[in-house]
């Protein structure tokens, strides 16, 4: 029953040990040992806490020093945007329950979607035909992704795993037969994404970690620790050297990670609630986030700070997912009040609000060539907008 008080150990480890031993002593009336442990835990915590608070404020000071102009000021000289007319061009019906996630194929017209009832469907969104369907052995399939080759899909959710299904063209073949189990977490899978090839998958989970996996062997290549709560979303950076990604979680933090070393290289904490979605600006120099606090925010990586907030007093429901138009000028947000809000990224104003879904919008992605964007909703449908 050794309680380690050295500052190098994390406070969670200490509280975990305490938890185990407290359970043993719950039944006894007097718990003196627990009192000592509690005092020790408290001292460690207090020290760590004050150190982290002072570092945090020093960091904020440093960041503020170089912030000499606001984004909307710089954007004053940019031309304003006209009225936008975007409509639903396709409605995909076929899921029997809430649609939770979707992803585009590189061919710019196919998509994969997953829902609460365990079904994963591959569609040719242009013709609205369903091409493949898989029933997962679990409900709440919260994550799905299309492989870059277009020959496989990955998905997972409450089964705590991420599985890869090669897309077979044999109508008689059961896709589930060739399923490959790749990732294993200790809590639900919240998001997954292939890297530049079919061979590696990046996952995020309710267990508070992200991980990089080798598809062929199922081997864990790298794990990423640093979030204090469930990680809900991730996005890979479109950079020349292609080695970083950003994640967002229930701890209100957005973390940027080095895929090689597993280290967190930048962290941003300005949201007031869970971050449900993160997406890189197309140049890779910034990223946007959407949160339950009903705001979207833009963070610049070189300035190392938040540079814009997209919010309106009349918007009171959380944002479930965000994505940029091809040029990065527009930011689309899917909201829990069933609407999509379109933002002018540079000027910070809302350009348009789109109605159509009959329940919350749970997922939103712009197509690879930027000709349209797709939304999935708890109303069981997906819509393509252009």
């Amino acid at each position: 029953m050794v309680v380690c008080c050295c500052l190098g150990r994390t406070a969670t480890w200490v509280s975990y040990q305490l938890k185990i031993h407290a359970q043993k002593y719950m039944r006894s009336p007097l718990i003196p040992e627990m009192a000592t442990q509690e005092v020790q835990l408290n001292e460690t915590l207090a020290h760590l806490k004050s150190e982290s608070e002072s570092l945090k404020s020093k960091l904020e000071e440093e960041r503020a020093k170089l912030h000499d102009v606001e984004l909307h000021q710089v954007a004053e000289k940019v031309e304003g945007l006209g009225q936008f007319v975007m409509k639903t061009r396709r409605t995909l019906k076929g899921h029997g329950n809430k649609v939770l996630c979707m992803d585009w194929c590189k061919d710019k017209r196919r998509i994969v979607s997953s829902s609460q009832d365990g079904k994963v469907i591959v569609w040719d969104a242009f013709t609205t035909n369903k091409e493949h369907a898989v029933t997962m052995p679990c409900t709440w399939v919260m994550a799905c992704a299309y492989a870059p080759s277009g020959c496989a899909v990955a998905c997972g959710g409450l089964d705590n795993k991420c599985s890869v299904y090669p897309l077979s063209l044999d109508k008689n073949e059961n896709l589930a037969a060739k399923k490959k189990s790749v990732a294993m977490h200790t809590n639900y899978l919240s998001a997954c994404s292939f890297t530049n090839s079919d061979m590696q998958i990046l996952t995020s989970s309710g267990d508070g970690t992200c991980a990089l996996w080798d598809v062929e062997s199922g081997q864990l290549l790298q794990s990423f620790h640093g979030h204090a709560a469930d990680v809900l979303c991730l996005d890979l950076a479109p950079s020349e050297t292609g080695n970083t990604f950003v994640s967002g979680g229930c701890d209100k933090k957005a973390n940027v990670w080095d895929m090689r070393s597993g280290q967190c290289i930048q962290s941003f904490e300005t949201h007031e609630s869970d971050i449900n979605s993160v997406r890189y600006y197309p140049s890779g120099d910034a990223f946007a986030s959407g949160s339950d606090d009903a705001t979207c925010r833009l963070y610049d990586l070189r300035a190392d700070r938040e540079v814009a907030i997209y919010s309106k007093e009349s918007i009171i429901f959380g944002v479930s997912s965000v994505d940029f138009s091809l040029s990065g000028r527009l930011l689309f947000g899917g909201y829990n009040d069933y609407t999509i809000n379109v933002w002018d990224v540079l000027k910070g104003t809302r350009v348009s609000i789109l109605f159509g879904h009959e329940n919350r919008v749970s997922t939103l992605r712009v197509s690879p060539d930027g000709t349209a964007f797709s939304t999935g909703s708890w109303d069981h449908t997906l819509r393509i907008w252009a």
Partner: protein
């Protein structure tokens, strides 16, 4: 985020309550009056139309959005209808509505455990003034802020429970206190792992930051505006709108003649050129003329290691060494001696990232040297001049006649076809 996994009142209810409080503001809030319901006169009521007008004015939104927002206020129970009380819908007319009393607000009903924890902390605070632990003090103030409008209730309950416990035997009281303490020790919200956070902070303090005026000056959006179909449309037409896939056919991976916009994009950045299959092909042709094609081949081979199967890493590294790095290699690449030494050392124990330094060296070499020259070359200029500018498809005379939407071979199909045709079949 998901109801089954959340641990607090949904954050939108708290923001909704802000709206409701603003609506009841004595100065800026809604003007309420008596509303007639059949023969009864109900005081402090308002009409559906009043609600919509107020929202439109105060939040600067149109009627559709106002109706949508107001609808949620009724659905969530903050405003209730006097006529047809079971139909929780906001009608944009003379239908009468009233505000719900705060006691019934959603945030006060949920979650029971947060209220209980607040009561527990209040009891501890009352019983032994200033004896709350650091983390308990923090939680106490967070809860105080969050469920402020029920704080009287919390304190009241705490006092009641303390009074009741005073009437028990001392031994039992101690037991209960310990059990409670233990319960909340286990069930209180987890402590944030601070040490890794501290390390991240320290590193962050040391990083180089760029002035905002420089970062935000970037004109990426402007440069790409003409290429953004949602903003500027696309030629000949947006397939999703016109049902015509010509745009996709013209911009397929490998075409005899590419479109002008596409060739223009190759000049935006080296990465744009390399990520387009045709662009890479053209660049390779140019490099061959310059006798430096081995650079691009080397870069591609390194990419295959970085993103390929783990099982093939060793053999691929050997191939690269043989073809590009060994003395007298057929396609020897010119890397500086320091990087070469480091890479050769690393090859002894090959791993996924062993080629990273060499790959980056060659990448930046091409970017700084060959790429700018390519853009000035006749090869590029002639490609640009013969590139197609598609004609915009005129809108159909009969807009209601929908074109037939043709299906396309799926990538999975294409992959299978090329597999069955054998190694001669080309792929991009």
């Amino acid at each position: 985020m998901y109801p089954l996994l959340s641990s607090g009142p949904a954050t939108e209810t708290l923001r909704m309550e802000k709206v409701i409080v603003a609506m009841q503001d004595p100065d800026m809030g809604m003007k309420m009056r008596n509303q007639r319901l059949l023969i009864t006169v109900i005081p402090h009521a308002m009409t559906g139309k009043d609600i919509i007008d107020w929202l439109m004015q105060n939040y600067n939104i149109n009627e559709e959005e106002s109706l949508h927002l107001g609808g949620f206020l009724v659905q969530y129970g903050y405003i209730y209808p006097l006529k047809e009380p079971r139909c929780l819908v906001l009608r944009p007319d003379e239908s009468p509505y009233r505000f719900q009393t705060p006691y019934f607000w959603t945030s006060t009903r949920w979650p029971v455990s947060e209220l209980d924890y607040a009561i527990f902390l209040a009891k501890k605070n009352i019983r032994k003034q200033g004896e709350l632990m650091e983390y308990e003090k923090e939680r106490y103030s967070v809860l105080h802020k969050r469920i402020n409008h029920t704080w009287d209730f919390v304190v009241m309950q705490a006092r009641e429970q303390l009074r009741a416990s005073k009437q028990r035997r001392k031994a039992d009281r101690i037991v209960t206190e310990c059990q409670e303490q233990a319960y909340w020790l286990i069930n209180r919200p987890p402590v944030c792992p601070l040490s890794p956070f501290i390390e991240t902070c320290r590193r962050a303090l040391g990083r180089n930051r760029v002035k905002s005026s420089i970062c935000l000056e970037g004109s990426y959006s402007e440069q790409y505006q003409n290429h953004d179909p949602i903003m500027q449309g696309c030629l000949p037409s947006n397939p999703w709108i016109s049902d015509d896939t010509a745009h996709w056919t013209m911009n397929a991976a490998l075409v005899p003649i590419p479109t002008r916009l596409r060739v223009e994009r190759w000049s935006f950045s080296f990465m744009e050129l390399l990520s387009d299959a045709m662009g890479r092909q053209e660049f390779m042709m140019y490099l061959e003329k310059e006798f430096s094609a081995e650079n691009l081949c080397f870069w591609q081979a390194c990419e295959e290691i970085r993103h390929g199967e783990s099982s093939k890493i060793v053999e691929k590294v050997e191939e690269i060494y043989k073809n590009f790095l060994a003395p007298g290699a057929a396609r020897w690449v010119n890397i500086d001696s320091k990087t070469m030494d480091k890479t050769l050392e690393g090859i002894k124990h090959p791993h996924r990232f062993v080629m990273d330094d060499a790959q980056m060296h060659i990448y930046f070499l091409m970017k700084k040297d060959s790429y700018p020259r390519y853009l000035k070359s006749d090869l590029y200029k002639s490609m640009l001049s013969k590139a197609i500018v598609p004609q915009e498809t005129k809108k159909s005379v009969f807009p209601f006649v929908r074109r037939q939407r043709h299906s396309s071979p799926s990538p999975a199909q294409a992959a299978e076809d090329s597999r069955s045709k054998g190694p001669q079949a080309g792929s991009d």
